[in-house]
């Protein structure tokens, strides 16, 4: 399982502009598997991405929008992408602003499928 997760992250990290990708336990905000460029704080990224997903999930639930499947947050210095995966996991990507979000999303959904196996 952990090898499959690592391989999925390796594919994600090959997308141009991706600075780091990880599987995160959604409830705990803890890293399950990660592939990060130097200088990226994986623990903080996992914790804040999970917190963001939880808040967005709460907002979506309160407005009747249903389960959140994908989050995109554009900031001045980069983009944070979060996709829901089975087994209470999240696929999290930190990327440069110019990243191809469509390609990233595709690879993230592929990675999420690995979590089902």
């Amino acid at each position: 399982m952990s090898i499959a997760l690592a391989k999925a992250l390796e594919r994600l990290s090959r997308v141009r502009g991706v600075r780091g990708s990880m599987f995160v336990a959604a409830d705990d905000g803890i890293v399950v598997s990660q592939e990060l460029m130097e200088g990226v704080n994986g623990r903080a990224l996992a914790a804040f991405a999970a917190a963001l997903a939880r808040k967005a999930g709460g907002a979506a639930g309160a407005t009747g929008a249903g389960r959140v499947r994908f989050l995109q947050m554009d900031a001045a210095a980069g983009t944070l992408l979060v996709a829901a995966a089975p087994r209470d996991l999240l696929v999290v990507v930190l990327a440069e602003r110019q990243v191809n979000v469509g390609l990233c999303r595709l690879e993230m959904l592929r990675a999420a499928e690995v979590g089902t196996r």
């Binding site: 705990d28 623990r43 914790a47 804040f48 999970a50 917190a51 939880r54």
Partner: protein, 156 residues
């Protein structure tokens, strides 16, 4: 309103910041012997005494377990419950080794607590005074010191 009270004033600013950042419900900062230096959220002295004694005992027993398996020490301990989680970790400061026990709810996560705990430790290390030389602890002294600490923490 839940209060933060401290026996040693240098712990207050780092503790208040940590509680706010990590959304912690209860925090106790103590020595490995269970002597409380600061607390947040405990309404009663008896709860604080019980939690600090148990926390210190857990750290001591896990330290002994670490030695048995050839580790210098274990990192933080984390217990997850239905409504609450507990994070228990020790750290080194110029004041001497300290133990911090954090109780948190569903409004935060162990990941966030760990991230902000690192900052808390750095703030404690920066604020801590150097350790004073201490003589052997006598039973009478310990009881008097415990009484003074509880009086400071709970205003009695």
């Amino acid at each position: 309103m839940t209060a933060t009270t401290v026996v040693e004033p240098w712990t207050e600013a780092p503790l208040v910041r940590y509680v706010g950042q990590a959304s912690a419900r209860l925090v106790v900062v103590m020595t490995p012997a269970g002597q409380v230096l600061a607390q947040h959220g405990f309404p009663r002295a008896v709860d604080l005494m019980g939690v600090s004694a148990l926390g210190a005992a857990i750290v001591a027993s896990s330290g002994a377990l670490a030695e048995l398996v050839g580790e210098r020490s274990f990192g933080a301990l984390f217990h997850a419950g239905e409504r609450h989680g507990i994070h228990l970790a020790s750290c080194r400061t110029p004041r001497g080794p300290l133990v911090v026990l954090t109780v948190f709810g569903r409004e935060t996560s162990i990941g966030l607590v760990e991230v902000f705990f690192e900052e808390f430790v750095a703030a404690l290390q920066a604020a801590a005074p150097a350790a004073e030389a201490r003589g052997p602890v006598l039973a009478g002294d310990f009881e008097a010191e415990l009484g003074r600490s509880l009086a400071t923490l709970f205003g009695r």
